[in-house]
């Protein structure tokens, strides 16, 4: 009986591909046993009907629906023993090699904390703690760093002499305005600018700073979030991006924000729907304001809230504020957004890039804190523009004509709107690892079982020389890309 229904179902579905899948599903569910106990399949919403024989493929595709992926630090999971065993041959059974025996090979690294960043510790690797409010977990990471941490069993980095130098700069910046500490990290592609910026963020967070970290600034300008023109600010607001920043700022700095209060009353939603206006009195905690913004899922109040939060953080002197931007050079390009006339929108006409450029140029400053940014030299879509190359004296890879037009507006933002106060400081990250630093990183990968042969000294020297000491090449093209069985 059931088999005849099944056959009817299959023939029915096969012969008439135009028939709705819901009907065929009902026919199949009349069978007993596993089919009835199986979980309900998502109703496939095919456009124009499913072709003969494609139903299963279509339903499998639908079940792998996109879910919002979190930019969390990935958790390392070991492969199962079966996959690590050498395959069995006629002569020998499947054997688990010695290196993969279940001894503890976890990386026992010291914690990356402020007291560990000293000249004595230059050339040692230190791991990051994975608390839920860690800036890396909440704000995310630059893509290449994310990929590296995906392979490592614990996210870690090497303490270099630039790390110590940056720490000293931040110590000095703690008690002075951010106008005096606007730093851009520059250097060759792969020399460790993003890693250094990340270390600075971790240091600042441990020291109790308020941290705003944007690991991929190009996501603000590549037309992936909503934008609307605002007549008051005469710029294009970015509600969705502002919402995400307020949410992350609140998560990472909730303790600090709950001690700070509004210095003036603020009306949320004054320009939008009159019925949803919320008034916050003077003395309201900033964390309450941020929570109210986060609850409003329509993103309407995000831009105004972020603006007020930044103004309050500028004025307060209780906590130093670190604004850390990676991919900084992308803010000096035309964005992928278009205005109604189909002209590309300049970055300084979008609310968030404009905010960042204002802090970079010194037009707006934190009473206590620093502005730290890193360039990405390896991005071909958003290359380092001439304005930055000129201002930071980076030198040109190719001869540049003096007749090539530099945008005056961008030059202003690059050099600081008030020329007397001095412009952006250029902190050059060394192009090469020192031998001790390279050794520390090599040992991390060795302990994490990334090396395929046991001649460690030889392979270390070979990879160090081949990569010319460049940190990224040393890891990706040296340690991880070599296969030399012992």
């Amino acid at each position: 009986m059931s088999s005849s229904i099944l056959s009817a179902a299959t023939s029915g579905a096969a012969s008439c591909s135009q028939r709705s899948l819901v009907t065929s599903r009902l026919l199949v569910q009349q069978t007993r046993g596993a089919a009835q106990k199986a979980p309900a399949v998502k109703v496939a919403q095919s456009i124009g009907g499913v072709k003969k024989g494609q139903k299963d493929k279509w339903e499998r595709k639908i079940s792998r629906e996109y879910t919002h992926r979190q930019h969390d630090i990935p958790v390392f999971t070991r492969m199962s023993e079966d996959k690590l065993k050498l395959p069995k041959t006629d002569k020998s059974p499947a054997v688990l090699p010695e290196q993969f025996q279940p001894m503890s090979t976890s990386l026992n690294l010291p914690l990356f904390e402020p007291k560990a960043i000293t000249r004595k510790n230059v050339g040692t690797a230190a791991g990051f703690d994975l608390t839920p409010t860690n800036p890396a977990k909440v704000f995310g990471l630059p893509k290449k760093m994310f990929l590296e941490f995906r392979i490592l069993s614990t996210p870690c980095s090497v303490i270099r002499d630039v790390t110590v130098e940056t720490k000293h700069k931040l110590e000095k910046a703690k008690d002075s305005s951010s106008k005096d500490s606007r730093i851009v990290l520059t250097g060759r592609a792969g020399c460790g600018k993003s890693f250094l910026l990340h270390q600075a963020v971790q240091y600042a967070k441990s020291e109790g700073w308020i941290v705003l970290y944007i690991p991929r600034a190009k996501t603000l300008i590549n037309s992936t979030t909503t934008y609307t023109y605002d007549l008051r600010t005469q710029t294009y607001l970015q509600p969705q991006a502002s919402y995400r920043i307020v949410e992350k700022l609140l998560t990472v700095n909730s303790d600090a924000l709950s001690t700070l209060t509004l210095s003036a009353p603020f009306t949320l939603g004054a320009d939008q729907d009159k019925s949803k206006v919320q008034v916050f009195k003077e003395g309201t905690k900033l964390s309450e304001l941020a929570q109210a913004c986060v609850k409003d899922k329509s993103f309407q109040s995000a831009c105004g809230t972020l603006e007020v939060l930044m103004r309050e953080l500028e004025g307060q002197t209780k906590f130093p504020v670190l604004m850390a931007i990676d991919d900084f050079q992308s803010l000096f390009h035309d964005t992928a957004y278009r205005d109604p006339f189909f002209r590309p929108i300049k970055s300084h006409h979008l609310s968030l890039p404009r905010l960042i450029l204002e802090y970079a140029s010194g037009k707006r400053n934190f009473a206590k804190g620093a502005f730290l940014s890193a360039l990405t030299a390896s991005d071909t879509q958003y290359a380092i523009p001439l304005e930055l190359q000129d201002t930071l004296e980076l030198g040109n890879r190719h001869p540049v004509s003096p007749y090539v037009q530099r945008s005056e507006t961008l030059l202003q933002y690059a050099s600081g709107l008030d020329a007397n106060a001095g412009g952006l400081q250029n902190l050059k990250v060394p192009e090469k690892f020192s031998v001790e630093e390279a050794q520390a990183l090599f040992e991390v990968w060795k302990d994490d079982l990334a090396l395929t042969n046991s001649r460690h000294d030889e392979s270390f020297m070979a990879k160090y020389v081949e990569s010319d000491g460049n940190p990224r090449d040393f890891v990706w093209k040296g340690v991880l890309a070599s296969y030399a069985p012992s």
């Binding site: 909503t226 934008y227 023109y229 005469q234 294009y236 278009r338 006339f341 189909f342 404009r354 507006t409």
Partner: protein, 181 residues
């Protein structure tokens, strides 16, 4: 699922590509349409606001009669936004006055005999769906009426643009006709 002018735009599709469902709208026109209504590149149809959907629908129903786009001012680097106490309605009123002043200036110039150069909006001359099909039918009918080579080829169901007919004229033989569409 949104229905615009009788076309079904699936929720999970990017708005920029969903708009190409309309006959006469390709990737370039769709990009321009999205820019016009401030729809970002990665916006899905389900993320469109009701205002955006209605403006799209009203625009596409008659692109030629759409109102001109206002030229909103963009903040220079040293711009200071007005205090929050100034209501938005006041700012909008000021903007409308400035726009009316511009229109008067243009009219005055046109009277003098030196009309200001206007921006040629590509979307103003956009034709989609039935309008476009009518236009194509009229063009073919016109070619036939004047007795041109193009008209004759359409009438004979043969290739029009000098392609080979000894072999390979299958598409032309199938589709070319006077009452195409």
């Amino acid at each position: 699922m949104v229905h615009v002018l009788g076309k079904k735009l699936p929720d999970n599709h990017l708005a920029r590509f969903a708009l190409t469902q309309f006959y006469g709208v390709g990737p370039k026109t769709a990009h321009r349409l999205c820019a016009r209504f401030q729809i970002h590149d990665k916006c899905k149809v389900k993320d469109l606001t009701p205002f955006q959907i209605t403006s799209l629908a009203s625009f596409l129903s008659s692109p030629a009669t759409a109102p001109p786009i206002p030229r909103y001012p963009l903040a220079p680097p040293k711009f200071v936004s007005p205090a929050p106490t100034v209501p938005l309605s006041e700012l909008q009123a000021k903007f409308r006055e400035s726009q009316e002043a511009l229109v008067k200036e243009k009219a005055a110039l046109a009277e003098k005999g030196t009309p200001a150069k206007e921006w040629n909006d590509p979307l103003k001359s956009l034709k989609i769906e039935s309008e476009l099909r009518n236009q194509i039918r009229e063009n073919i009918a016109h070619q036939r009426m004047i007795g041109s080579y193009v008209g004759r080829r359409h009438a004979m169901h043969l290739p029009v643009r000098g392609q080979n007919t000894q072999t390979n004229a299958k598409t032309a033989k199938k589709l070319n006709r006077l009452d195409r569409f």
